[in-house]
């Protein structure tokens, strides 16, 4: 069974149709890249999978391990293993990153009927994970993303990904706002999390990110549909010729 199956998905935002019958299948262990120009519906797709309010699904379905994802609340989707790394992670003043991580992890575990981590167990786990990602302990004491640089924010997303161990990671425009060094660090973190049990969907404008996170499959989106799919060489082709050819095709 596929991990994620998006079938003929149609989505509206305020009466305007953004996705017009999008289909996508992602299997465990695969990394898919979704590329496309601004307004092609890439971010909409990621938001609808994660369950962000404000989108109206007018047709099609999304199955996650065969279960109807659209029937689940966003927090239940998270507990089931859907993780969205945000393009612009939000700041939560006054809430220590450590507190946030623990509250979220235990909420997920509880929703799955697992026991919650005790404080010492949790601290051990966080320390282990942050060490492997080279994240200083000091960062965990600060408010969630408050005063973080662009790179730190993205590393905080990767840290959560490592900690929550989701089976599907959607990375929304992960490269935005990052310089080349920060990008490499974040991408290294993501690559460390690639596993045969985990799938990733990498959403990006630019081929650049895919030099660091090399995909198995590349999809090109235009005007709310997947217009072409192929191997990693498709990304290079796009880099050379641009999106214009696909806009005509759509």
């Amino acid at each position: 069974m596929a991990l994620l199956e998006v079938k003929d998905l149609q989505v509206r935002v305020e009466e305007r149709e953004i996705l017009h019958g999008l289909t996508l299948t992602v299997n465990e262990g695969q990394v898919h890249a979704i590329m496309g120009p601004n307004g092609s519906g890439k971010s909409t797709l990621s938001h609808v999978i994660a369950g962000k309010p404000g989108y109206e699904v007018t047709g099609g379905q999304i199955l996650f391990r065969g279960e109807d994802l659209l029937e689940m609340s966003p927090d239940m989707r998270a507990a089931k293993g859907v993780f969205l790394a945000f393009q612009y992670p939000v700041e939560i003043p006054g809430v220590a990153t450590m507190t946030f991580l623990r509250t979220a992890l235990n909420a997920q575990r509880k929703a799955r009927g697992e026991s919650e981590y005790s404080t010492p167990d949790f601290l051990r786990k966080v320390r282990e994970v942050s060490k492997s990602l080279n994240i200083p302990q000091d960062m965990l004491k600060r408010g969630v993303n408050v005063g973080f640089s662009g790179g730190e924010k993205k590393r905080n997303e990767v840290l959560q990904m490592a900690l929550f161990e989701p089976s599907l990671c959607i990375l929304d425009e992960m490269d935005s706002g990052l310089d080349i060094d920060a990008l490499r660090i974040a991408a290294d973190g993501v690559n460390a999390l690639r596993s045969p049990k985990r799938a990733m969907v990498v959403i990006t404008h630019y081929q650049r990110l895919l030099n660091y996170i090399v995909p198995d499959v590349v999809h090109v989106m235009s005007k709310g549909r997947v217009v072409k799919s192929g191997g990693k060489e498709l990304a290079l082709e796009l880099e050379a010729s641009g999106y214009a050819q696909f806009e005509d095709a759509a």
Partner: protein, 498 residues
């Protein structure tokens, strides 16, 4: 279990219309006839076996009150109060003089049990990290002077306090036992003519707490009073007077709950604090009186006058409040910085949900030289509520080197509520340094979505964000209140997001 989750567990068990503390105790009570007249004032004074000077004091206040009109400047709306349609005195009928807890009406004890109020000695802080300057938190204790419907029915810890020379007793008792202290200080911070509600209180106050800490004494425990309004239609007129003599220190905690009622209930308390040279008073409040039901019916009207007088040099008064209840809150705990180098602090969390209206803030009145004050106010508005911060910072001509820092932050949840900031700043000498910062923000959909995407429910997400927002103030509360307050904040915001 993290407090946020625990809170949600608790919230789930509460129906909106089933205010957790909304039960009524069946006990016989001793009431003054309905309405207010000189006779009512005499009745109250007689019930309390008060000396003649006290009755005169009350009567003067009453006569003054007759000439006054209700203030209307606050940003709150409510139907006109018929002051003749209220009872001004109600007390549980004493069976006999109480010497131990066993003799107290079991119904009353049961009420306290439901409220989770400890009447016995408690060493609550086992294993808790000590605050700076405190060596042995596990041995810190709380003394409870329990105020039940206007009359103090139990006072614990008396002996230990007595050993330290601290006087902590119902004010009605202090009037009889320490008339020289009461006469000297009562009304010296909030004069009988101060304002409509304070004057009313002066005429008809029923009971409250009295604290005197002698020179050089650090009060050996946190003092705590729980107020509870029980009798239907009974206005509560608490009167509290705390005096910290030279070089002394006292921390006083006040916490409140009230049962559900359809009629609006009036509460007009007066709290006076006096700090002499080098003395420090810390006064903390957690208030969660019945806010009214989901349609805005019922709820407590809370018109309180709280004022501290930093009378001595280098004295310090600190107010910390967590206001979550009441239908209407009208409350401005203030500091008069009279002594040179004295300082005042005001830390406030005011939460309004449903149809609640809050108009609260502080006054920092700089009179002495090199006085300083600090105001940190966090207002949170949800539902259809209105939340106003109103503050006055003033430096008089002789208050050279006066300093104030004010930060007022408002958080809005949803789009049907309102937050307002009304700061008044007056500097009458050029050496004053006043800083004012204010922000208003909204819990954005993006923040909530981020949290739920990481597995938190909507309610947990709101609780987490709000607790982060108020963290600076929560840290000012004594530990045992901080935990309670954190839970209360989340409970108060239940149902604030769709």
């Amino acid at each position: 279990m993290p407090a946020v989750q625990e809170t949600v567990e608790r919230v789930k068990r509460i129906d909106v219309d089933q205010y957790r503390y909304g039960f009524e105790t069946q006990i016989e009570s001793d009431k003054a006839p309905k309405g207010l007249s000189e006779d009512t004032v005499r009745f109250i004074s007689e019930k309390k076996n008060e000396p003649a000077w006290m009755l005169q004091w009350r009567l003067e206040a009453y006569r003054r009150w007759l000439t006054m009109t209700e203030p209307t400047w606050a940003r709150v709306n409510y139907p006109k109060i018929d002051f003749q349609d209220l009872y001004y005195y109600s007390a549980p009928k004493p069976k006999k003089t109480v010497t131990s807890l066993d003799e107290i009406d079991p119904e009353i004890l049961k009420t306290y049990e439901k409220l989770g109020i400890p009447l016995r000695e408690v060493a609550m802080l086992e294993g808790v990290e000590p605050k700076p300057g405190e060596q042995d938190p596990a041995r810190r204790k709380i003394a409870v002077d329990a105020v039940f419907d206007s009359v103090s029915v139990a006072t614990t810890f008396k002996a230990e306090l007595k050993k330290a020379g601290v006087i902590f007793m119902p004010i009605s008792e202090a009037i009889r036992e320490h008339p020289e202290l009461v006469q000297k200080y009562l009304g010296s911070v909030v004069p009988t003519s101060d304002n409509f509600y304070a004057t009313l209180n002066s005429a008809v106050f029923s009971d409250g707490s009295f604290v005197y800490v002698p020179p050089g004494v650090r009060c050996p425990m946190e003092l705590s009073t729980y107020f509870r309004i029980n009798e239907r239609n009974t206005g509560q007129f608490e009167r509290t007077l705390i005096i910290a003599d030279k070089g002394s220190y006292v921390s006083y905690l006040e916490g409140c709950t009230a049962p559900q009622r359809d009629e609006n209930q009036l509460h007009a308390a007066v709290v006076e604090l006096v700090a002499h040279d080098d003395a420090e008073i810390k006064y903390s409040t957690v208030q969660n009186w019945y806010p009214g039901n989901s349609e805005g019916k019922g709820g407590i009207y809370n018109f309180v006058t709280k004022r501290g007088d930093c009378r001595g040099d280098r004295s310090k008064i600190s107010w910390t409040q967590v206001e979550t209840g009441s239908a209407i809150t009208w409350k401005y705990p203030s500091c008069i910085l009279r002594g040179d180098n004295s300082s005042g602090e005001f830390y406030s969390i005011a939460i309004s949900n449903g149809f609640q209206q809050v108009d609260s803030g502080t006054k920092m009145i700089h009179l002495g030289k090199n006085t300083s004050s600090r105001i940190i106010s966090k207002g949170i508005a949800a539902g259809k509520s209105q939340n106003t911060y109103r503050g006055l910072v003033t430096a008089h001509r002789k208050a050279t080197g006066a300093r104030n820092f004010t930060a007022c932050d408002s958080l809005l949840i949803g789009d049907k509520c309102g937050a307002h900031t009304v700061p008044y700043i007056e500097a009458k000498n050029s050496s004053a340094t006043f800083e004012h910062e204010a922000t208003t923000s909204k819990i954005s959909e993006d923040v909530l979505f981020y949290c739920v995407q990481r597995g938190l429910s909507q309610e947990e997400a709101v609780g987490l964000v709000v607790n982060g927002f108020v963290k600076d103030v929560l840290q000012q509360l004594p530990m045992e209140f901080a935990v309670e307050a954190q839970k209360l904040i989340s409970i108060s915001l239940e149902g604030s997001v769709g």
